[in-house]
Symmetry: C2
Subunit: 185 residues, 2 copies
């Protein structure tokens, strides 16, 4: 039996990201899991319009997307519950830079993308940033044959309905392949 | 040591969805994992412009988002590797309808959202549909206290770099809570 929950967004889990910015010249990070893939090289990040990070993003039109690993969950959640307007978050993580001087990245994060903002979508309560990575830095320990191996990344997955962070499980099938086993009855 | 992979999209894993449409009056489903959350009730779906499903979406401005469970992986992958232009996919799943008469949903999928299309973003090679669910139907077996419980949904997660489908692991922390344990050194 199906139950109608009404107009509920059930599109979870999504990967937790830590977005690096500079706001008034100070490094800031925020936890964003309302993200998306727009095309092969364009990603989306959704932020409530009051977020402090937005000031830096609009000023510099750059940001970084860092994928934290499970063992970073305390800090990853912390930067989501305190605002840069009230708290200096510049020293929570050790930062490094790539080409973009206003897109600080997190040394401990296994995957860091430095990104340019290419579009801003104005929704009623949210600014949605379309961004494109110009460089993606990965810890060598999370690569297998120079490809990102998520079993080594150990990403944090977000579920809003229950308010939980989840681990990634195991790979169990190959894409564009397992479907060939389908036989029409 | 970090290795620069160049401008690589590493924003995975993402949930696999099966998008239900009617194209020329025939039910069709496609596998889309390049999805996103735009705001609380607006979701994004990215499709290469040549996809057959797009004809039906633009004609009806409706679609459904179905979250398959692990045990549906063969059919879920199959509808991603054959086109509705060449193959009648109307009988692969048993379908049902809610309010929208052109948004067929999958009876076996634990979560089904019937959606209206509210915007279409024209990217160079992709059409990106912003959609809003008007009703979300869930199998009662995947609810805990009337809330979606992803440990019961057993969603399929997509990883493009390695071309794998992943299981969801275990919940390991509470959002907006575990971060309170952070102490500045």
């Amino acid at each position: 039996m199906k139950k109608n929950l009404g107009p509920v967004n059930a599109l979870y889990p999504t990967p937790v990201t830590l977005i690096g910015t500079e706001v008034n010249g100070r490094i800031n990070y925020i936890n964003i899991a309302h993200v998306g893939i727009i095309d092969f090289n364009t990603l989306s990040l959704s932020m409530v319009k009051t977020r402090y990070s937005i000031r830096g993003i609009k000023e510099n039109m750059t940001l970084s997307i860092n994928l934290p690993s499970e063992d970073m969950v305390i800090k990853a959640d912390f930067v989501g519950i305190v605002s840069g307007a009230d708290y200096d978050k510049s020293n929570i993580f050790e930062s490094f830079y790539g080409e973009l001087k206003s897109a600080p990245m997190i040394k401990d994060a296994p995957i860091c993308m430095e990104c340019k903002v290419v579009n801003i979508i104005d929704m009623p309560k949210h600014d949605v940033f379309f961004v494109q990575p110009i460089n993606t830095y990965c810890n060598e320990e999370v690569l297998t044959n120079d490809t990102i191996d998520f079993s080594k990344v150990k990403p944090i997955l977000f579920d809003r309905p229950q308010g939980k962070y989840w681990q990634l499980g195991k790979p169990f099938a190959n894409c564009w392949s397992i479907g060939k086993e389908y036989k029409n009855d």
